[in-house]
């Protein structure tokens, strides 16, 4: 599947299993002109010790100036369809379409935002 990003900023996508558990988390940051675009091809099947696992992409975060598509489709619609295809319940598929999933634990320090910087 192709993740296509138009516009500068940051996009986070997770691949979730049928229980909505995140197996992979990727953040793509792209910067340049206002018309910059990016593409990230990604496999929707992961190899585990128990065999192949079918997964669904979930758009977790997207910058204000960006548009994202999954294989040319609107991300929520693609996620809803794919989640049902891999065996998620309707409730889980709807939650994933809204970007609500069980995240991987963060193992890196969180970056400061401008708003969080202490003022003199």
């Amino acid at each position: 599947m192709d993740i296509l990003i138009k516009g500068p900023g940051e996009v986070t996508v997770c691949l979730v299993d049928r229980a909505g558990k995140s197996m992979l988390r990727e953040t793509l940051r792209v910067f340049g002109s206002q018309t910059v675009s990016a593409r990230r091809p990604i496999e929707l099947e992961l190899e585990t010790s128990k065999g192949k696992m079918r997964v669904s992409p979930v758009l977790v975060f997207c910058g204000d100036k960006q548009t994202v598509t999954f294989d040319g489709k609107e991300p929520a619609a693609f996620t809803r369809h794919r989640c049902k295809e891999i065996g998620c319940t309707d409730k889980e598929a709807e939650a994933a379409a809204r970007g609500e999933i069980h995240h991987l634990p963060r193992n890196a320090p969180v970056r400061s935002s401008f708003a969080s910087l202490p003022r003199p």
């Binding site: 995140s22 953040t27 792209v30 340049g32 002109s33 990230r40 496999e43 992961l46």
Partner: protein
């Protein structure tokens, strides 16, 4: 004709569950369209943090310490000129510059069991001028 300073930056930050035993290679691209002028690449660079680790082992087993970055400058038809990172001296001019595509790659791994941990960040940038 005026000189336009341009930039392309792309970063991929990846974290995988330890249940995954096969780590796919990374390929990501960022591009911008140009005006058909003469293009000079002034800097192209790549950096990487983290990598693929064995389970409970702090040292990366990754044998791709920097990833691999190419700037593909499309000049019409099937013609392109490629520039490889790193370089911080001006390139020979390329004309006509129609589109610039920054391609970032990193290798994949396969293990017979779920013994791999992945936390890697790969970033690349290119600065160039179009006249």
């Amino acid at each position: 004709m005026a000189t336009i300073d341009l930039m392309l930056q792309l970063e991929i930050e990846q974290q995988l569950s330890t249940e995954v035993s096969s780590i796919n290679a990374i390929l990501a691209e960022a591009w911008t369209f140009l005006n058909g002028g003469t293009v000079t690449v002034t800097e192209i660079a790549v950096q990487k943090e983290g990598g693929v680790f064995g389970n409970n082992v702090a040292t990366p087993i990754d044998d791709s310490p920097n990833g691999y970055v190419t700037l593909r400058m499309f000049t019409g038809g099937n013609n392109e000129v490629d520039f490889f990172a790193p370089s911080s001296v001006p390139s020979p001019p390329v004309q006509p510059g129609l589109a610039a595509l920054l391609e970032v790659r990193d290798i994949g791994f396969t293990a017979p069991q779920n013994v791999l941990q992945v936390a890697r960040k790969l970033g690349a940038h290119v600065y160039f001028q179009e006249t």
